[in-house]
Every structure is written in structure tokens, then in C-alpha cells.
Symmetry: none
Subunit: 214 residues, 4 copies
DNA sequence: AATGAATGAGGATTCATTCAT
DNA sequence: TATGAATGAATCCTCATTCAT
């Protein structure tokens, strides 16, 4: 989960400075995902990370920079998760389900990160970012999201409905986000059966009807 | 949208006392939907509403009370929107589409209220409310949401998939929330065709397959 | 206790305007004696007096003026109490005890006024007043206090100890103020026997010893 | 008067951390003794103490806590003053005069503390404390005040008048408080002769008459 | 004359940020 | 490098005072 490269590995047995930096990042994610940006004092982050308040300002220019870096890290990590084991040769439906499952798993296993991203996207800052398509500078900046690629491919072969991309993404991700949030909050318990059935339903939403439906 | 009755219409050209109260409520909805609770100082609300800071405290005990009242009002207004023209005798599919359309329309025409509710539900306070099922005391407190009724009825007649209620709601509302938020932010332009197609896709997600699909 | 002259008596059966004024004064005395000047909002006074907030400003320039007038009124009323039935021909001891009893009675029967004066005298404003000897402009401004007259007379006939006037006053009034405050607060119950015995003791403090004491 | 130990005296020329805390305490005593609790803004304390406003909240939870701590400190210091050099074997009269002198001296040399205690005892909070006998938790919490002990002993050997304890205390302390306050305010100048004579007069007030008096 | 809604200056408190050690 | 004490700007809220009705 740690995205930072630690290539200067072995020599001294001293304390890794990134350790402190990471603890600050982790504490921030956890606390902001729970209390929100304005509800999380820097001092609280420092205490939770087990460092002095001033120390945070050694690693980050200010609170904004800290949060922005987290967003970028988490956003990239999330995208990498989606690319993980992604096989282009598979049929559209399998690739779609695979991506959905990854999103589900990511949300369930990284609840703090998940809520953090949500919060960030809904904040004025996040909106700006989104509009400017600055989403992510990790790896290939301009590269389409995997989900977008799948939809594009599916549309071509008439497997996916001919809807605007944003609508397709909403149909695929909206329900998952909804469910994962409920699960994080503890309103429901997500078992595998429910997850699989929901993903299948998402597929029904975006796929082109093959039979006759009422 | 204004809940207060202003029956004493024409005669005097005097200032309506509810006017000020309403302006405070409207300003709060607008600002909090954009900047969040902690990101919106009372002074900002006052300025936006064109009143003195102290005036706000004549109408509301404190910031919390102001926000809570807004939530209750907006939540009730939203539910009433859903019940509007709701005809029980119609087939499940029509009722479902009708509800979806209402949600879409509500979000598009009341973007601030829409984001406000979203924010509120995702806040610690909203989560508590949700868990305690205190959602709304307007009209019938204990009554199920219309959408829940439709799903219940649809499950009985085997029209709706046999999924947990939370999952069905996520499949229906998740995409709409997603799209409406994108639309509010200005990332997409929602025309009728897209709305209708998306709703139809939502129906595909929750309905029981009648034909054969891969 | 009302010091205002109501000479324009009979004609109309309408509400006496001084009534309102008095209610404001009474409410202020009661509330300030309990909560202090800064602890008593004007709005609280208005509510307690049963008038509108703005009404208070019809009768008094501002809060300070209101309190100052009360001080002057109460101070005068208190002094008049001391002069009441005051008979110069009586022996020093009787006159002293008479005055002491009056102070006691005044404090017990006018607890709010009593505490109000205390508070006022101890406030920066009261101190200034005292230093400027502006105590009271009621009746004869320059006239000595009765107690001071008694002490002066007693010193001349060698009945009262030859101490500075301030010390004699402290010996006479200090204990009474102390006890009355305890009584107002409810820490003790002042019966006649205790009152009389205490006054007698006060006399012992200021009188010239006639017998031999250790 | 400073309760904090500053044993690590000379070596470093650095700022004593208790210094700031003490300056806040001293400023608060001074200002509140003059303007009262509600009449003394925290900002005024900060300015007077030469610290930032926020600094006060590093040392004290809030204004209440600050004042309460001062009361406890001052109250204990005052009591310790009274116990200082207190010799049980001395005759009642000497012990009484000794205590009176100590109170006098304390008031004269600690005028701010003296007025502060007065104010505190007369506030609603102080009254409650007094009623609950929580006066002080310094040293022996339940122990009687020295003055009370003297009075109890004096009553037994018929040296002190048979009056309620509250009355005896009023007779002893009332005049002193009165005089000291006048002295603090600058209305009189207390020389040793006056102090001694006044104390003797206080003794006359509480002692049992040995000769015949009129 | 009487009212109380409206106001904004001022008070308590918090918190991002700096800086001396 | 790491710290946390210190700070004051900014926040929520109160309240003396005004003024339109």
C-alpha cells in the first residue's frame, strides 16, 4: 500500500525517515475520512501519527499540500488496483466484472481511502481538479481509465449500450460506491453472494439486451 | 420550495418576516452544499443572505440547529416530491421509472438541496440519523420509502431481482446520484434522452431477466 | 420604597407610566444583585420586568444610567431608613444600637438592594464615586451619616473609643454586612436573639471600656 | 506568593516556563479583583500578562478553570498564612489577636488576592462552594479554620461570648475586611496603631465581659 | 409611547503555522 | 532533524443599542 519508493535501502540501521512521513499520511487519511478536512486539526493528526505538530510542516508545506498529496497518492493507488491483473484479451463482460470486483474490494479493504476520495471529489477543490482533468499524474497522465477502455471497446462491438461515457460510468460505479459506503458505515454486511449479484446487475444495466425484455 | 405560507399576499408593501428567515435558509443550503458544514462560517451565510450575523441567531439557536432544520425541511420536501403523482395501480416498471425520473428531476432542479442532503447523509451526524431510522418525521414517520414499496411489490411478483433491499436501492439511486452530481458540477449536460436511457438502464439492473442473456 | 413623586395623581384611570419604570428598576436590582452587572443582559431585565427591550431605553439613556440611578435611589432609601425614628436626645448607646438594628433590618428585608449596594461599592465605578464623596445627592448632600454623628458625639463624651472614623464604621457595620450576606445566601438563619446579641457585641467593640478587662 | 518551585535557578538564562503561567495568574488576579469576572475579557488578561490570547488556553482549559485554580491557590495560601506561627498553647486572646493580625497583614500585602477572594465568595459559584464546604483541599480538607478552633476553645473556657459561630466570625473578620478594602481602595491609610487598636476592639466584641459595662 | 427585530462590535475559544531550542 | 510552546487570525455566539412600525 505504501507507494513511496525506498530504493536507498540497506546501509544504516537507522530509523527510516519515510516512516514518519507515512504515519502522517495514514493518520490524515483515517481522520479526514471520518471527520472531514475542516473537522480534523493538524494537532490531531500529529498526535495520531505520534509526531510533533511542527514535524508535519517539515514534510508538507501546509495542510492543503498534505491533503493534496494524499489525494494524488490514493487516486493513483486506486487506479493501479484497477489495472492489476487486467487482461485485455478477455471478453468485455469478464473485464467489466473484473473491474467492478476490484472497485468493490478496494472500497471494502481500504475504507478510509475510499471515503477520503469521495470527500475530496465532492469538495470544491476536488471539483476543480476534476474539471481540469488533472485527476492523476501517476504513470501515463493522459491514459484513459480502464473502465473507459472497456466501455469504448464494448460500444464498438455492440455489447455495451450506446450511452454517454459519464452515464455508463455512473451505472457501473454509482451502485458500488453506494453499497461500499453503506458497508463502511456499518449499515449492511457485504458478503460475496451480494457482491457478485450486484455486479451482475450492474452488467445488466450497461450491457445491450440480447433477448426480449418487458 | 418555500415551505412557509405567505397567504397575506398583496395589501401592504411591507417586508415579509419569513423573507429573512428563508434567505438565511437558502444561503445556508447553497453555501454548505458547496463548502461543507465546517467550511461555511456563519458570517459567510449572513453576508450571502444579506443579514447581520446576529440575526441568524434570532431564528436559529445555533449553527447546528440551522443545519438540522434545513435537513429536515429538504428531506421532507424531497420525499414529498417522490410521492407526488405516485399511482399504486401502475405496473412495477412504470412506478420505478416514475420514481427515478422524480429523483433525477429533483436533483437537477434543486442542485443545492441535492448536494446538501448528500453531504448530510455522509456526515457523522447523518450516519447516526440513518442508523436510527429517524430520517424524516414529515407525514408518516414509519412509512417505507416509495422505492422500497415498489421493490417489495416487485419481488413478490418476481419482477424485481431477489437482492437485499440496500443493493436494489444502490442500483437504482447510485447511478442517478452520480450523474446528477456530475451534472451539477457542470461535467455533463443531462438531456432528456440521456436521462430516459439511464433510467431504462437502471431498470435493466434491478428487473428480473425475461429473455436469455449472456 | 418608591422614591418618585407621583403628584399628577387622580384624573385618568389609565396605567401609571411610572409603574413600568419601577418594574424595570425592581427587576434590575433583583437580577444584578444575583448575577452582577455584566452577568445581567438588558434583555433579561426587560423580560423580567415584563416590558419590551426598547422600552428600557425610553426611561434610561443606557444600562449604565439605569444602574447608576438605582444606586442613587437605593443609597438614599437606605440612608432614609437610618434616619427614620432617629432621636438625637437618646444616649449614645441607644442611638448606636438603633442604627445597627435598622441596618440589620434593612439588609434582611431588602436583600436585593443590600447585595446591589455591596456590589456597586466594590465595582470600579462605586470606588470612584466613593472617593469623590458623591455618595448621595438626596436631601442634604453634605450631611454626615447618622452613624458618623453618633460616633462624633460619643467620642466627645468619651463613650466611644478614640479610633479613626473609618475604623469605627468598620467595627459597627462590618459584622452586620457579613452576617446579613450569610443570611441572604441562606447560610444562616438570623433570629432576634442572635441579632440583638451581635449588635451588643458591636457596641462592645466601639464603646470605651468601663470596667477592667483583661 | 508564587506557589511554583523554581529550584533550577541560575545556570541557563532561558525563560522559565512557569514564568508565563504565573504572569497569567497574576494578571487575572489583578484584573478580576478590579473589574470582576465578567468585566475582565480574556484578551485583557493576555495583554496584561504580555502573552498571546491563545497561550492562556495552553495552560488553562477555559476562563472558568483559570479562575477556579486561582481561587484554590489563593485560598490555600491565605489559610497557610493563618496557620503560620500559630501556637496552640497561647491564651485565647493572644491567638485571636495573632490571627486577626495575620488577616490584616495578608489583606494589606496581597490586596488583589484579598479582593479576588471576596468577589469569588460573593459570586454564585463561591456561594455554592461555601455551602458545600469544599472551601479548600489544601492540606487537611476537613480541618476547621484556626479561627473556628479558637472560638470553640474560648467558648469552652467562657472567654468567648456564647454566640453562633457565624456571628463570632462576622464580628472578628467583618471589620477587618471592611477596613482592608477601604485601605486597598485608598480611602484610608492603615498604620500599625490603627490596626492594633482595631484588633483590640474586635477582641472586645467577641470576648466575655469581665468587668461591669453599661 | 411601546415594541422587538435587526445589527455589529466584542467576547470566548480554536487552530494553522512559526520558531527557538 | 524534531519538537511543541506560542501566537493571533478566524470562528461561533452574545448582547447593548437602534429604529421602523
Amino acid at each position: 500500500m505504501n507507494v513511496h519508493s525506498k530504493t536507498q535501502a540497506a546501509p544504516r540501521q537507522q530509523i527510516d525517515p519515510t516512516d514518519k512521513r507515512d504515519r502522517i499520511l495514514q493518520a490524515t487519511i483515517r481522520l479526514i475520512s471520518e471527520y472531514g478536512f475542516h473537522g480534523t486539526p493538524v494537532s490531531m493528526i500529529a498526535k495520531d501519527a505520534g509526531v510533533g505538530t511542527g514535524t508535519i510542516y517539515r514534510y508538507f508545506k501546509d495542510k492543503d499540500a498534505l491533503v493534496l498529496e494524499i489525494f494524488q497518492q490514493v487516486n493513483c493507488a486506486f487506479k493501479k488496483t484497477l489495472l492489476h491483473e487486467y487482461v485485455v484479451s478477455q471478453p468485455i463482460r469478464d473485464r467489466f466484472l473484473h473491474l467492478c470486483r476490484d472497485i468493490f474490494q478496494y472500497g471494502i479493504h481500504n475504507p478510509y481511502e475510499f471515503k477520503f476520495i469521495e470527500q475530496f471529489y465532492n469538495s470544491p477543490y476536488g471539483t476543480t481538479l476534476r474539471r481540469e482533468k488533472l485527476f492523476c499524474n501517476c504513470g501515463d497522465p493522459g491514459q484513459d481509465l480502464p473502465l473507459e477502455q472497456v466501455f469504448a471497446a464494448g460500444k464498438e462491438q455492440n455489447t455495451i449500450k450506446d450511452l454517454p461515457l459519464a452515464a455508463l460510468i455512473a451505472l457501473a460505479i454509482g451502485p458500488i460506491v453506494f453499497l461500499v459506503k453503506d458497508s463502511i458505515v456499518g449499515l449492511i454486511q457485504l458478503d460475496d453472494a451480494t457482491i457478485n449479484a450486484t455486479m451482475a446487475a450492474c452488467w445488466d444495466a450497461v450491457k445491450v439486451e440480447t433477448g426480449t425484455s418487458k
